[in-house]
């Protein structure tokens, strides 16, 4: 383990530097995205005012607001550029160069992204989360921060990121077929955003659909961690969710390994 | 035709302090440093002349060209071309000039070359009759026929350069600016491009201003050169003047029988010379000794060399223009005009 860290630490460092270099740009981009959270906030506010009911599908207005912002933060953290990077490498042929290096293809990206995450967490995640907690305090009058929920959330978030990473790497291999990847990535982001509960909590959907989506890997990316944070999952549900997250992580990890091995074989036969 | 007087261009450069704190600070209170890219340059060019604009990297050549073409506004000074001031009334002015930047294309990457010319025809409002004639002429000089239906992105560097030059000439400009027109091309292609430039200059008496790194370009195309270094003009005159002025610079080339024996030669010590007066270079096979013939006679040098080592071959000649200019860049030759 320590050896792995030693080998891959430079990539993390590079990730930090990269993110730091583009932080001004990054900041404006995130700000643009946060605007969308506010639109949803006002929209839901209007919904609660117009509906005249205290809760929708078990969500109070405060829950909904927390859901909107925390699901945004979760998706920012759990988002991985893996598919994009792998796609680029396939198109420009650099992927062949990866085979001659004595380090793991997936881990170099993973550690680089971890570096970028460090910046994201300190610049975006912590301040915005603090804002959400303050909002909760102002509205409800009690400090609603629950350490246990938060720790469970963090654990779930890390799993979510790793699933996302390996899922995206797998998806990136589609560049072998789809060539130009802008459209393919856009389509993926759109579908994943919906299926993971990033647009609307899965609990709002028709029951059959909701159950199905809960089992699919995408719920593990956003919906599961956020529901834990909001405190809307009971203990058995949390345990089942963790089991599901771990299952999907193992699934995509192995899938990624299989595809990579197939690529190596294909390239060593056909010469790239 | 072209008058440039005391032209000067300064750039403001923001000094960034390291770290997040530094960038926030520089965001609100930027610290600027002023860099003078072009300093007080004057020259003029007559109609039909081909002027070579030379100087080392970062000397300010491109900045001058960009001011003359109206891309940059001078900080101070004046330039006037055909009685027009480039950065004023730009749209009107650029109809009379053609510009080629060797490092980047101005053609539309995804359009077929022919389409590119159709776009330019509309932009420059060339009528159908002149367009036809013009294309025929350009085709003859630059041989565009073989790739005119291909998209620009598929052209080779040499083809692209020919296409770019044709694009800049479509509207029959009075002045043609070429910034590094032969950069990155192989010898044969370079030669073709030079021939084409000559033909265009001869045919229509087009004034050509060209910047280049390649001194072959200059020797082939220009009668006159303006040399700049660190933003200032260091030489302005005919190439022959440059040669006669620095003609004292001569070159002796020899191939030693045994390369190891060369270490026995020490010209500086033998003739008590300074660094600027003599320089020895070798490619592992041929040795070339550039020397100031005012300081040391050819005979003495030959005698010393031949008596110290055995050679397979030896000759003495004029240093070519390239050598002289290299010397000027290295400040070996003093320019006290």
């Amino acid at each position: 383990m320590r050896k792995i860290f030693k080998i891959y630490k430079p990539f993390t460092h590079a990730g930090v530097l990269l993110a730091a270099q583009y932080r001004a740009n990054f900041f404006f981009f995130i700000l643009g995205d946060i605007l969308r959270c506010f639109i949803n906030y006002f929209l839901w506010h209007a919904v609660f005012t117009s509906g005249g009911e205290k809760t929708f599908a078990g969500f109070s207005e405060t829950d909904m607001v927390v859901y909107i912002f925390i699901s945004f933060l979760t998706s920012v953290i759990a988002y991985s550029d893996g598919s994009y990077i792998v796609g680029e490498e396939i198109r420009d042929g650099n992927i062949a160069m990866r085979m001659i290096k004595p380090i793991r293809f997936d881990l170099t990206f993973l550690f680089q992204e971890l570096g970028e995450r460090l910046i994201t967490v300190t610049m975006i995640f912590l301040p915005l989360m603090l804002g959400v907690e303050i909002y909760k305090f102002v509205v409800t009058g009690v400090i609603g921060f629950n350490i246990l929920n938060f720790v469970l959330y963090l654990f779930s978030l890390i799993l979510a990121y790793l699933i996302s990473f390996y899922f995206n790497v797998c998806y990136g291999y589609s560049a072998f077929v789809l060539k130009n990847l802008w459209g393919a990535n856009f389509l993926k982001d759109c579908i994943v955003g919906f299926l993971s509960g990033g647009v609307i909590p899965l609990a709002f959907l028709p029951p059959a659909l909701s159950v199905a989506l809960n089992i699919l890997p995408f719920a593990s990316l956003t919906y599961t961690p956020v529901m834990i944070y909001v405190g809307m999952f009971d203990a058995p549900t949390i345990i089942i969710s963790f089991a599901l997250q771990i299952f999907w992580l193992v699934f995509f990890f192995i899938l990624q390994q299989i595809i990579w091995n197939a690529c190596v074989k294909r390239m060593s036969v056909q010469g790239g | 035709m072209i008058y440039v007087e005391n032209l000067k261009k300064e750039f403001k450069k923001t000094i960034k302090e390291p770290g997040l704190k530094g960038s926030i600070k520089s965001f609100f209170k930027p610290k600027n440093e002023i860099i003078t890219a072009v300093n007080d340059i004057s020259f003029h060019v007559a109609k039909g002349e081909v002027l070579g604009f030379i100087g080392p990297n970062g000397a300010g050549k491109s900045t001058v060209i960009k001011m003359l073409t109206g891309i940059l506004t001078p900080t101070s000074g004046r330039c006037e071309i055909n009685g027009k001031i480039p950065y004023k009334n730009r749209k009107n002015y650029v109809k009379e000039i053609g510009v080629v930047f060797g490092q980047r294309t101005q053609l539309w990457w995804d359009l077929a070359l022919r389409e590119t010319y159709t776009v330019l025809k509309e932009i420059y409002e060339v009528d159908d009759e002149s367009y036809k004639k013009r294309m025929a002429f350009l085709n003859e000089v630059l041989e565009l026929e073989e790739f005119i239906t291909s998209p620009v992105r598929t052209l080779s560097l040499g083809q692209r350069m020919r296409a770019d030059i044709a694009a800049s000439l479509l509207h029959s400009p009075k002045v043609l600016f070429l910034d590094e027109p032969t950069i990155g091309l192989d010898v044969v292609v370079k030669d073709n491009i030079r021939k084409a430039i000559k033909a265009i200059n001869a045919e229509e008496n087009t004034t050509v201003i060209l910047t280049t790194h390649d001194l072959q370009d200059v020797e082939n195309l220009c009668e006159r050169i303006v040399m700049i270094d660190k933003g200032s003009k260091v030489f302005d005159g005919e190439i022959s003047a440059l040669k006669s002025k620095f003609g004292s610079s001569r070159e002796m080339k020899f191939v030693p029988e045994n390369p190891e024996s060369v270490s026995a030669l020490d010209y500086k010590k033998e003739f008590n010379l300074r660094d600027g007066d003599i320089a020895v270079e070798d490619d592992g096979y041929t040795y070339s000794v550039r020397f100031n013939s005012n300081k040391i006679g050819v005979e003495k040098l030959l005698n010393y060399t031949l008596s110290t080592i055995h050679v397979k071959d030896i000759n003495v000649g004029d240093a070519d223009i390239e050598e002289i200019i290299k010397g000027i860049y290295r400040s070996e030759v003093k320019l006290d005009a």
Partner: protein
């Protein structure tokens, strides 16, 4: 005669580039298809989201589902038209200036703004345009609209001027790159404010409403003009406002652009 000639020239140049972009589209068929499907799906998901909400409430601040869909569809029209014709402004902010590629536009005897925008015809925009038309087609028969000759004219006018609100915002923010070398993220941030326009501005708080009405006036690209058609609000404010805001933004945009062009410092040597 001179004007006619100019219009002819403009159309001819547009035609060449449009043809080219369509050709490119055929070349990257799969990418275009996946992208277009993605665009369609994004909108479909949003509509689905609205329908889920409306399954639980009778109306949103007094607006029925169909009225919301009308506003939403209306919003997509100017957005997609701007997207279709003025997409290259993004490239100004992202890389054209940073790489020094702006030089070539300065050596052409046409306005730089025209030379930049004519170059790209963004075919992807058809996805949004299609959805917008679809949503209007769905909602118009279901809401009470006064379809008169005058209103059709006003509709066209408001779409055209709303388009230039988008273009104006992009023009101002992309021009920043003339001084800072890049401004892509700034364009993005301001551009994203358009998302507010898809819903009735009455749902937002006062400060936000002021911002999207007077500062980055995207409210005039959809909600205000659309509400004239739905509720018969004051046309002078709702559509006149669109025209005025659009003219102001374009004037400021062109002014900043021209300032930027003269401050432009080409890249490298």
């Amino acid at each position: 005669m001179r004007i006619l000639h100019k219009i002819h020239r403009t159309f001819k140049l547009h035609r060449i580039f449009i043809k080219q972009d369509l050709k490119k589209l055929m070349e990257y068929k799969i990418d275009f298809l996946t992208g277009a499907i993605g665009m369609l799906l994004t909108q479909a998901i949003n509509i689905f989201f609205l329908s889920v909400i409306f399954a639980r409430i009778p109306n949103l601040e007094g607006y029925s589902f169909e009225q919301i869909i009308f506003i939403y569809g209306f919003a997509l029209l100017p957005k997609s038209i701007d997207h279709l014709f003025f997409d290259n402004l993004w490239a100004i902010g992202y890389f054209i200036i940073r790489k020094g590629d702006f030089d070539k536009y300065l050596t052409r005897p046409v306005s730089t703004l025209f030379a930049v925008t004519v170059e790209k015809f963004q075919v992807d925009a058809f996805g949004e345009l299609f959805v917008g038309v679809l949503l209007l087609g769905y909602s118009v028969p279901k809401i009470t609209l006064n379809i008169s000759f005058l209103n059709v004219i006003l509709f066209i006018i408001s779409i055209i001027f709303a388009t230039f609100i988008y273009t104006g915002v992009k023009l101002i923010t992309s021009s920043i790159a003339f001084w800072t070398k890049r401004s892509g993220s700034i364009i993005y941030m301001f551009y994203m404010i358009n998302e507010f326009a898809k819903y009735p501005t009455t749902i937002y708080n006062r400060a936000l409403r002021a911002v999207i009405t007077y500062i980055v006036p995207f409210a005039f690209t959809a909600f205000f003009p659309a509400s004239y058609f739905i509720t018969g609000g004051n046309p002078w404010y709702n559509i006149g406002g669109t025209v005025v805001m659009s003219v102001i933004l374009m004037a400021v945009g062109i002014f900043v652009w021209n300032k930027g062009v003269s401050a432009y410092e080409s890249a490298g040597s």
